[in-house]
């Protein structure tokens, strides 16, 4: 087993294990921390595929900003394990079975797909570097880029309007 394969399996087990702990944890703060571990594992996958820009942006935006926002909100509401409501046992079982069935259906559907023997290029490749991404983003995709800035502006305005106290 080459070092790439060992690294892939280690990162995959870490990602799936911490995703399971996100769902299983009773304390919401623990769930946030396990989700941060999941994001680190996925960023590790990105860097292994030489998508360096996305790996770092994933860490900064998701683990650094969005999860900190979640932690703020959880601590604002003072949630802990005792006040955590639990669903009916059969509903939880039904939810797990539904997720498992979807997993089986998707894996079975892709079992015979034509892409089975295509390789993913690891470690090399120019397209993950910021120079190529930037040149294509600002030439072919400049209109969605500008529209996404308008989206951010509207999200900020919407957040402030929703969060305003009083009427």
């Amino acid at each position: 087993m080459s070092i790439s394969e060992i690294l892939f399996y280690f990162l995959s087990v870490l990602a799936i294990g911490s995703a399971l702990m996100v769902v299983i944890s009773r304390n919401p703060v623990h769930s946030v921390l396990w989700l941060i571990v999941t994001f680190f594992a996925i960023s590790g996958h990105y860097i292994m595929m030489n998508a360096q820009f996305l790996g770092i942006v994933n860490l900064i935006v998701y683990a650094g900003a969005i999860m900190v926002l979640f932690l703020f909100v959880i601590m604002l509401m003072n949630l802990n394990a005792e006040t955590e409501p639990k669903k009916n046992k059969w509903l939880r079982m039904a939810g797990i079975v539904a997720g498992g069935c979807l997993l089986l259906v998707l894996v079975a559907a892709l079992k015979d797909a034509e892409v089975k023997n295509s390789m993913v290029q690891l470690k090399d490749g120019e397209i993950g570097l910021i120079k190529q991404l930037g040149s294509v983003l600002f030439t072919e995709y400049v209109v969605p880029f500008e529209i996404s800035s308008v989206l951010f502006l509207s999200a900020m305005v919407g957040t402030v309007v929703i969060g305003k106290k009083g009427d």
Partner: protein, 109 residues
């Protein structure tokens, strides 16, 4: 690395996210599982972009770059969605002092 390893990993993360959305009652944990699903899709898109790059790099040196740019826009939308969603959750908590979705499923209270 074969593409099907990445496909199975991404499907596993996505289905764990779905099981989390269906199983939990806390609105914030449900929101976090939605972010987990988005990340699973991002991972798959980047894997496919590298696969297409390997196949098409002779013809076009920028083959497969669209996948990674799409991930960039997905992250943009996810960030905007998280801010608005958390504002809604905080507003609901201020009104009924609970983030239990079974409690919040009525429009009028």
């Amino acid at each position: 690395m074969n593409i099907e390893y990445y496909i199975v990993l991404s499907i596993a993360l996505f289905c764990i996210g779905i099981a989390g959305v269906l199983t939990r009652r806390n609105a914030i944990i449900i929101f976090m599982c939605i972010e987990l699903m988005l990340n699973a899709v991002n991972l798959l898109l980047v894997a496919f972009s590298k696969m297409h790059h390997l196949k098409g790099v002779a013809a076009n040196p920028n083959a497969g770059i669209d996948g990674q740019l799409f991930v960039f826009f997905i992250m943009v939308v996810a960030a905007a969605e998280v801010s608005v969603g958390l504002a809604i959750i905080v507003m609901m908590y201020r009104n009924v002092h609970s983030v239990d979705v079974n409690f919040l499923n009525r429009l009028k209270h």
